[in-house]
């Protein structure tokens, strides 16, 4: 056996100075040579730990083994047996805390770059499908109809799995484009929209119908979908919801945005191309983003690319507690993002209705709080004013009430999220399942996909317990 290579193949990236001013993808992806070399490092464990770390249980050693035998169709098939959206997951999954965290090779050196290999195989498959579009084999129709609310990660995943099992699936999407957070939230430089579009097309090719401009709770309610529109079950994947604000003075000044608004303008509405695209965005000079998660990183890096002279993160805890992925933090630092740790805003200052500064306090870390992280406490007499002309709030979201308020008998927890069985996604309401951020609160793309997968399985079991109505249609 060859000696274990402890170092992973590096990921080529756009130069950090150049990319800070454009919206093109930061990481460029492996070539076939580097992908094969990286795959060669995998020891193909007979009892793979990595698979346990994957919320959708991708048979990781199987796809890597096929890849290193240069059997790309086989690799793609293994990958897609569990993951309908590999090119997306290969880019945005936090592999370092999931599959790669459990990699056996990682105990001695760098874990296998599973995410990068997934991206390589996913992208290869997308190119193959583009060059040689083939209609996937249609399963025997079950005659059952499923309504999926929301075309984000959980909805697309549940829809794809249910369509592959022969159910007739319709996704209702409120916005004019499917993708959910993949389209409105995650920027082009991290997840190109052409990739999202191609993965959505794949879901459509399985027979899933996607109806846009359809705001469930307004255009039609969940009860009407079940009682009047003839759907057998409904899956709710409505996403994270309404942006939170801090509740400090000055938050409604012109120049204060939620991260959702800022990113929706830039991504979904393509405001970076204004005036070629109609939706405007302010090209502010000194932008502060409040928060430390991935959404905050996306917002601050977008502000920089829109031409900010200084784009900074204002976070009340320290670097150690930063919830963003390490890779996003490193990329942001390389690009010149300023990090103001242990800093908490208390007021946004305005002049003639516009932001001119943000009053902040310095913090220091005290005793651990309920989350186990050391609680930030105010450093006395530390008040100072940050010179900014725009502030973006990236401090989380609260569930959107449009669906929950208009659905009878849907149990919610005290935060307003839907109560659902963690194993099956079944809600308290008959024939209704839920998954993704509407159940968990803001979480990751892959955890939403995992929830969509588990719900699809549970929905399938439920539907197949009932007598088949249109079984003869398939004959």
């Amino acid at each position: 056996m060859a000696k274990l290579n402890l170092n992973r193949q590096p990921m080529p990236e756009q130069d950090h100075k150049e990319r800070a001013r454009n919206f093109k993808e930061v990481t460029l992806g492996y070539s076939l040579e580097t992908a094969l070399a990286e795959a060669e490092r995998c020891i193909i464990c007979p009892k793979p730990a990595c698979v346990k770390g994957c919320p959708v249980n991708v048979p990781i050693p199987d796809f890597i083994k096929a890849l290193r035998e240069n059997d790309l169709p086989g690799a793609a098939k293994a990958l897609k047996s569990k993951n309908n959206l590999p090119s997306i997951c290969g880019r945005v999954c936090p592999q370092e805390s999931q599959c790669e965290a459990l990699c056996v090779v990682g105990k001695k050196g760098a874990p296998i770059a599973i995410g990068r290999l997934e991206r390589y195989v996913g992208d290869w498959e997308l190119r193959r499908m583009e060059e040689n579009p083939s209609v996937p084999a249609k399963p025997t129709p079950t005659g059952k109809r499923v309504a999926v609310v929301g075309a984000g990660p959980s909805g697309l995943t549940a829809a794809a799995d249910l369509a592959r099992l022969g159910h007739s699936v319709t996704i209702f999407e409120a916005l004019h484009k499917p993708g959910g957070v993949l389209i409105y939230g995650i920027p082009e430089f991290r997840l190109p929209k052409s990739i999202v579009g191609a993965e959505v097309d794949y879901v459509r090719s399985l027979g899933v119908e996607i109806v846009v401009d359809s705001v469930i709770g307004r255009t039609v309610t969940v009860d009407e979908l079940l009682d009047e529109e003839g759907f057998d079950v409904v899956f709710l994947g409505t996403g994270a919801g309404l942006p939170n604000f801090m509740g400090i003075p000055g938050e409604n000044l012109n120049g204060v945005y939620s991260a959702n608004e800022f990113l929706t303008r830039a991504n979904l509405m393509k405001a970076y191309a204004f005036p070629e695209a109609d939706t405007p965005i302010k090209r502010s000079k000194r932008v502060a983003v409040v928060g430390g998660g991935n959404v905050a990183m996306d917002a601050v890096r977008t502000a920089l690319r829109l031409g900010a002279e200084e784009a900074s993160i204002v976070y009340r805890r320290s670097e150690e507690e930063l919830p963003a992925r390490r890779e996003e933090f490193e990329h942001a630092k390389d690009e010149g993002i300023v990090f103001r740790f242990l800093t908490n805003p208390v007021e946004i200052l305005g002049d003639k209705g516009w932001v001119v500064g943000m009053k902040c306090l310095e913090m220091e870390l005290g005793e651990p709080d309920a989350s186990g992280r050391r609680r930030p406490v105010i450093k006395p007499g530390s008040e100072f004013v940050l010179d900014v002309d725009a502030v973006i709030m990236a401090i989380g979201t609260s569930p959107n009430p449009l669906v929950t308020r208009t659905t009878r008998g849907l149990e919610l927890n005290r935060h307003g999220t839907v109560v659902a069985d963690p194993e099956t996604g079944k809600s308290s309401k008959d024939k209704v399942w839920a998954g993704g951020d509407i159940v968990t609160g803001a979480a990751t793309v892959i955890s939403a996909m995992g929830a969509g997968k588990r719900a699809a399985l549970s929905i399938h079991e439920f539907l197949m317990m009932e007598p088949r109505i249109n079984a003869d249609r398939s004959g």
Binding site: T219, V220, G241, E261, D278, G353
Partner: protein, 284 residues
């Protein structure tokens, strides 16, 4: 795609489209709005529903040419389609038997008071409508408003038709004459709604206004439409658009409506330039 079935030009710049949108028409109620996009890469703009026909599956919207998107929309005719049309959004206007209701409409906002006046009348209220415009040529839907009201008062700022003066003058007279008013509903430019609310406030008459802040998605996602009501931040798209006019922070609304004034000019110039190029190309 959402086809335009009928078009009517009320003035040079105010137009009525009847749109084929059965899913929206099915549940539309007075006071709700839609978000539409004219074309791909277009912005999402909110328009209040001016009328709906559940049987025919149509929604009527009235719009005024004020910027790039509305001017681009005005170039469309019967048979053309809008790229997107989502709704009905927002909460419907509260309609019940209040007694005597004064409906105040200004500019092209008059059109959006129509289904509300009609519903108030159907609910058994005595409906007095005050409608106004800058000048006679900008008055719209007078006959329709007359049919939806028990009494109609028309005002123009310049006195070219009806009473000379602002819509607040007849409202103030009614309130001062102590002719018991149970509710005021005002829809129009923010500045008009502000002064209607200020007029009725000393008399303690509940006054409902339909706020028109900037919006992007219109479903609660972005928070661009936040307004302050009674000192609390609300999202007009999901919590409104109707609010208690006496509790609205009007100056905040007026300031937030102006966030993108410069960009709106750039967008319009860019489009006009593009249009003129397209025309010259077509001619050549």
């Amino acid at each position: 795609m959402y086809r335009i079935l009928e078009r009517e030009d009320l003035t040079d710049t105010i137009h009525v489209f009847k749109i084929d949108a059965p899913a929206v028409a099915k549940r539309a109620k007075p006071g709700q709005f839609v978000i539409l996009r004219v074309a791909e890469d277009g912005e999402r703009i909110p328009l209040t529903i001016a009328d709906f026909d559940r049987k025919a599956g149509t929604i009527t919207v009235v719009f005024m040419e004020v910027g790039k998107t509305t001017m681009q929309m005005a170039k469309l005719g019967v048979g053309d389609s809008l790229a997107n049309f989502a709704g009905p959004l927002g909460l419907p206007t509260e309609v019940e038997k209040f007694g005597r209701v004064v409906v105040v409409g200004g500019g092209f906002g008059v059109a959006t008071t129509y289904p509300i006046a009609r519903a108030m009348k159907e609910a058994g209220n005595e409906v007095i409508t005050i409608m106004g415009a800058r000048t006679k040529d900008l008055l719209i839907w007078e006959d329709m408003m007359r049919s939806a009201s028990h009494e109609l008062i028309v005002c123009t700022d310049d006195g070219s038709y009806g009473r000379k003066g602002l819509v607040t003058a007849p409202l103030k007279e009614m309130l001062e004459d102590d002719c018991r008013i149970d509710r005021v509903v005002a829809i129009g430019p923010a500045i008009m709604m502000k002064f209607v609310a200020l007029t009725s406030q000393p008399f303690g008459v509940p006054t409902v206004v339909s706020l028109n802040p900037l919006m992007v998605d219109g479903t609660g996602l972005c928070g661009a439409c936040r307004v302050s009501v009674d000192g609390v931040t609300k999202f007009a798209c999901v919590d409104g658009p109707d609010f208690d006019g006496h509790k609205v922070d009007w100056d905040l609304l007026l300031a937030r409506q102006k966030i993108f004034v410069e960009e709106e000019k750039i967008s319009l110039e860019h489009w006009r330039h593009h249009e003129s190029c397209e025309c010259s190309k077509a001619k050549a």
